[in-house]
């Protein structure tokens, strides 16, 4: 593999990995607070993409407005999901709430098939993101440049919220001990809602960026990215924000670099990624940054 090809593959991987990272953060935050794997996260991601699509193509909104509205509505949707499907079960055994999450996921997917139609839709990519840059022989789509930047900015904002604000302090308190936090007069429901709001907003941004990069929307588009990002969060150490980002980037790198090195095994792309991830977990079951309690949300 010559240097140019390597750089090209590296850029491809970085762009995919930061997208994974963005979605993985949502999983990790919810898990950190509630010890709940939000299986519907991938579907919230899908909703975000579709809302932006309808904003632009049906309601003919300007691009920025459609994106902002999609993020807001998806956030409301995510918070509503927690209210309806998770909050009533908060004191039940953890398995019940997990089943509820799986049920919510199926419900959203099938409702989406009914409402949005199962035929794939083409996402209208604004010219702003449609360009292509060539740097030293390496081709970079404009959107591939934007994704890592967006992820980095959002990560910084998130770390600031968690570590520098009162809400963040409350989040960390709830994460450490829900009952003790309640005794300290922290409104746990509010904190959980905020967590879901942040997670869903990130999922919506992820969904829209995903649709910009791969402009095909379909109701089941959230399943595979959802699964992969969940695994990215676990590998990074679930509950840790920095871990989720690390896991996402790692997953993107492993996925694309194995193909780059072993081109004859391209059909096994996903299998390779997962096998390597299982190996990481065997060596370090808590995930790469799992023990770092201070990072927990």
């Amino acid at each position: 593999m010559d240097l140019q090809t390597f750089l090209q593959q590296f850029v491809n991987a970085l762009s995919l990995g930061s997208l994974y990272a963005l979605i993985a953060i949502g999983y990790t935050m919810v898990y950190g607070i509630l010890r709940l794997i939000n299986f519907a996260h991938g579907d919230v991601f899908m909703i975000g993409g579709y809302l932006a699509f309808y904003g632009v193509s049906t309601f003919l909104m300007p691009w920025w407005l459609a994106v902002c509205l999609a993020i807001v509505v998806t956030t409301v949707f995510g918070v509503g999901l927690e209210r309806v499907a998770y909050r009533p079960l908060r004191d039940s055994p953890r398995i019940s709430i997990m089943i509820s999450a799986i049920g919510a996921s199926f419900l959203i997917e099938n409702l989406a098939i009914v409402l949005f139609d199962a035929r794939p839709k083409a996402f209208p990519v604004s010219n702003l993101f449609a360009g292509n840059h060539v740097i030293g022989g390496v081709h970079i789509a404009a959107v591939s440049l934007i994704i890592p930047v967006v992820t980095a900015v959002l990560l910084a904002v998130l770390l600031w919220i968690v570590h520098r604000t009162k809400t963040g302090m409350a989040m960390r308190a709830v994460s450490t001990d829900i009952d003790a936090a309640r005794l300290m007069a922290i409104d746990v429901n509010r904190i959980v809602s905020i967590t879901f709001a942040i997670g869903s907003a990130l999922a919506a941004i992820g969904g829209i960026l995903w649709a910009l990069k791969y402009p095909r929307l379909e109701p089941l588009m959230g399943i595979m990215p959802g699964l992969k990002c969940f695994i990215a969060a676990v590998v990074g150490g679930i509950g840790s924000i920095a871990g989720a980002v690390l896991g996402g980037l790692l997953l993107g790198l492993i996925e694309l670099m194995t193909i780059a090195v072993l081109p004859e095994l391209t059909g096994y792309k996903d299998a390779f990624a997962f096998v390597l991830l299982i190996m990481v977990l065997l060596v370090k079951p808590t995930g790469l940054l799992g023990k770092n309690q201070g990072e927990k949300v």
């Binding site: 010559d2 090809t5 909050r87 199962a118 794939p120 083409a122 379909e218 089941l220 391209t266």
Partner: protein
């Protein structure tokens, strides 16, 4: 709150059931002939299945009766999944006890249902499943389209003679028998035509539903192929071409009949401009009277252009009706025997003669993408 949730869940489940399956009405009398529609209505092949179903529904609307009996369509969704396809086929064969089956889009899905229909002795007519294995050795599976060995040969010939390609890279949808088979037939013929064992410079794979192909394409770019043959699902293929252009790959893209879908143009946008592929039917050049009447009624009914598989779906329905008429019976075994005798039946996508292998010998059509639309290039007849 829990009650509300469960009510919502039930309501949604019912809505889903109603919209995807129109089969809830049990046939109480034998005055109804049931034709099963075995198609992917959701999942990666959802648009393909829906397009075939459009053609079948139109045919059913125009020709709702045969032998004085009403023909009822019983649709099941095989969800673009081989396992689900087997379940869906079982529902048609055992629960619905249909007289005949149409479908499925996707050779793998058809092959999944094949043994189940054969066991129940119900004849099935594939609409656009082009892999030879669909009908091979299965006395109850027929088809109204050409086969991949033919399609692979005409594709390779077109690449060699018309496009003057010397080096070709192949990208296969490895989880799809159609794609793997067609790629092999293409590669064999292309190597034969060029006389160069290394004429296929690279072969790369992806899975149904994949969205990122940058790594595969970056690998292929090194070989600087003149053309890239990428038989596979329409949306994945459109994304492949789009990503290839973004990576600075300017090679000519060649595909198969699966690209002949509106979704291919929508997802691909300007990137798929100039792509060529072989397919069954061109709606800008009607072949016979049936094509003309099909095109007219389709445009009136759906206010859009039919894809080739809609025409074939329409034909599959008519071929079954023709067999029922000739057999003068709706008994599955008799329909099956009459189907084998189908000769020079005028379908909208060309005359259909079912040969001894239960396949139809038909010409292939080449199309390209021009100004965001499909445009007819040429017709290639079987030798």
């Amino acid at each position: 709150m829990n009650k509300i949730v469960s009510c919502l869940t039930v309501a949604a489940a019912m809505a889903v059931g109603l919209s995807m399956v129109s089969c809830s009405k049990p046939a109480t009398d034998s005055d109804v002939i049931k034709i099963g529609v075995f198609e992917p209505l959701t999942g990666a092949n959802g648009a393909g299945g829906a397009d075939e179903y459009d053609g079948i529904k139109l045919a059913n609307k125009l020709f709702p009766e045969i032998l004085g009996k009403k023909v009822q369509l019983v649709a099941v969704d095989n969800k673009s999944d081989k396992v689900e396809a087997a379940n869906a086929a079982t529902v048609l064969a055992q629960k619905e006890k249909v007289n005949a089956v149409i479908g499925s889009w996707g050779s793998s899905l058809s092959m999944s249902g094949g043994p189940i229909f054969a066991e129940a002795k119900i004849p099935a007519v594939a609409v656009s499943a082009t892999n030879p294995a669909v009908t091979k050795g299965n006395e109850y599976y027929f088809r109204v389209c050409f086969l991949d060995p033919f399609q692979g040969v005409v594709g390779a010939t077109y690449a060699f003679n018309t496009l003057k390609a010397k080096k070709v890279a192949i990208i296969r949808e490895v989880s799809n028998d159609y794609s793997v088979g067609l790629a092999k037939f293409f590669a064999d013929e292309f190597v034969k035509l060029t006389g160069d064992q290394g004429a296929i410079v690279a072969t790369s794979d992806y899975n149904t539903g994949d969205q990122d192909f940058s790594a595969q394409l970056t690998n292929i770019k090194k070989f600087e192929p003149d053309a890239i043959f990428a038989p596979g699902n329409y949306t994945e293929s459109a994304l492949i071409i789009k990503q290839a252009r973004a990576l600075g790959i300017n090679a000519q893209f060649i595909g198969g009949d699966t690209w002949d879908m509106a979704a291919f143009l929508e997802v691909g946008g300007p990137a798929v401009e100039g792509a060529v592929f072989s397919t069954f039917f061109a709606n800008d050049v009607p072949i016979n009277k049936t094509s003309e009447s099909f095109l007219k009624s389709f445009r009136d009914e759906y206010k859009k252009e039919p894809s080739a598989v809609s025409a074939l779906g329409y034909d599959a329905y008519l071929v079954i009706l023709d067999a029922i008429k000739r057999a003068n019976s709706a008994e599955p075994q008799k329909i099956r025997d009459a189907l084998t005798q189908t000769k020079d039946f005028e379908g909208s996508a060309g005359a259909i003669t079912i040969n001894a292998e239960r396949n139809a010998d038909k010409a292939a059509v080449f199309k390209t993408v021009k100004d965001g639309k499909f445009a007819f290039l040429t017709t290639v007849k079987p030798q």
